[in-house]
Symmetry: C2
Amino acid sequence: MAIIVKKFGGTSVGSTALIQNIARRIAQEKRPEDSLVLVVSAMAKTTDELMQLAYSISEHPSRRELDMLLTAGERISMSLLSLALQKEGFGSISFTGSQSGIITDNQHGNARILNVNAFRINQELSGGKIVIVAGFQGVSQAKEITTLGRGGSDTSAVALACYLQAGCCEIFTDVDGVFTADPRVVPEARLLPQIGYEQMLALAYNGSKVMHPRAVEFASKYQIPVEVKNSRSFAPGTLIHTEKASKEEMMEERKITAIAHKENLIRLELARDAKLTQLLQDWNNEIFKYTVSENSIELMIEEKYRGEAEYLLRQHDIEALSWEDGFGYVTLVGLGINLDPGWLARTLELCAPFGIRRVQHSDMTIELMLPSEQVRPCVLKLHQAFIGEEK
Amino acid sequence: MAIIVKKFGGTSVGSTALIQNIARRIAQEKRPEDSLVLVVSAMAKTTDELMQLAYSISEHPSRRELDMLLTAGERISMSLLSLALQKEGFGSISFTGSQSGIITDNQHGNARILNVNAFRINQELSGGKIVIVAGFQGVSQAKEITTLGRGGSDTSAVALACYLQAGCCEIFTDVDGVFTADPRVVPEARLLPQIGYEQMLALAYNGSKVMHPRAVEFASKYQIPVEVKNSRSFAPGTLIHTEKASKEEMMEERKITAIAHKENLIRLELARDAKLTQLLQDWNNEIFKYTVSENSIELMIEEKYRGEAEYLLRQHDIEALSWEDGFGYVTLVGLGINLDPGWLARTLELCAPFGIRRVQHSDMTIELMLPSEQVRPCVLKLHQAFIGEEK
């Protein structure tokens, strides 16, 4: 029995028509020997709408009740998909995160997966059913319903693939896979047929939206091969796995694999004092980058988290030293590129027109901070120079 | 025929007595079915002595002649090891980098491996001989002798293991393997029986001296498993490979794997202008970290590169904005640790006594810049708090 886990994101299940498309696609593609587990997100916009409902009642709704509310979203999409599959003649059954046995800690809104007790899924698969699982949700050891926070549905899919010893985890999304740069910014960006976990992790952390870093981290830790593909086409996507260079490649060649970017960041500067520690421990949003200097800490966060950040600062009675918006990041990713300062030299030369404010690096990245409106021209220029068109 | 590549560093071949030890060890351990390729560095101090000779003649010796000179070092150690093996009754033959077919580009002093034509090695292995190869050296396509620069011998060994499709590449050194921290600084540091390439790379870039990042990068790219072990003991060392967590580990647990550190760094600040690009392109030494800000660039380099840096600045007619010495870095390495700001919070709290000047991060590191003399107490404290003693 070959188990395949397929995950469909919010835009892929965004309407009943799209849900029916998925069911038809599965009718075309499923081989008799395949056992399918389908992980679904809530229909696009559902989560936002539910959030709005909650915030219309309370400015700071309790996280426990929010989790109860939000988990209704996947319940809707999973049952609709099950109905659509039954219409196509399949036996199918939908499970919540709790019924699927996804055990988490008790951190409402941002729970981490501790374990998976997948016996109900296994039972139904043995009986020949297609199992649909609500992504993004789980249950704590105290039997409370939890949500996994950002990247949750991808993480659910990868965790199930790990526990079910699935041959592959397929992430269906609204793009064809992982590109050398965002194709909306760089029209000649190329689809990467494969990429190693560590470079994918660097891309994900630095703004690539294809997969959340958390899910990539998980896949890497348990060595789950993940294929990202377009839910609206049948083209092969990008395989994220342990990449091995062929002996024919030039041995010590170093090259830029891909370019990630991030726009619309806020730079929030805070004094480095005792209250900061507590603040960071309670910080639930993503911090895109941080830099601690002698007397202050600089947090780069997305514009959309401004409200929550302001609330958190008030709660901890902390006054920001400064708020400044309009920042962006462009990040070059390539194995070993910082072993050769020539890469930095060429990058600085090429980027002279873009008002680079700062450059930092890790072993496989060169990270440029610049005005948000310069991000796209900068990505275009660097892609042209370092990656170029297909040979 | 199982090929095993074993590399012995400068301290392991530091005297004829030690070289004879290696030969005796091989006599004890070699199974009849093993084909051995032994890669050797120059005897400890030989390279430094040859350098001193050259510098006593010319303040800025030509790189080509330096390469001719320095490659005599491995020629000595490899022929001595071959003699010692023959004394033990083995058939053996030593090869220079050129004879081994290690083809490089023509960058004297810092050449990169382009290809390996290992037919002479294969021929001798088939004839039952043990082959000893000079590490650190190669030959350019114009038949000039080159040296590989820093990390060169490890890189030679990994490249040969790749081309010979060896089952394993063993790096013999003067420590037992990779530890959770430098055991000279943290007595209770633990040997890691295994570590993944990406975390090893982060450790190597951030100061762990066990293996050079360049060789780790190479091993990762071609997926060569590397075992680091002590040349003076028979204990198992650390296996660097594609690490896969077991399902029994807590699924989304994040933890600090190890702590790297670096002492005695100089902070060199330069104006960010047109001359900088050229300087970086000619920069041949290692840059431990760089940070570009709006008007300047800060380079953190090791004290020992001060002289060469000064010379390079003079050559490019660049005046440093400032030189400041006495810096160090302590780096925490762990998968996903920056997905949870709590790690940064605890780190800042624990490090309050150590005068942390700056904190930066990558996806799997938290990097602390601090006064060099605070490095050791800081590593001790963080190891105690985050890694602790063996359970």
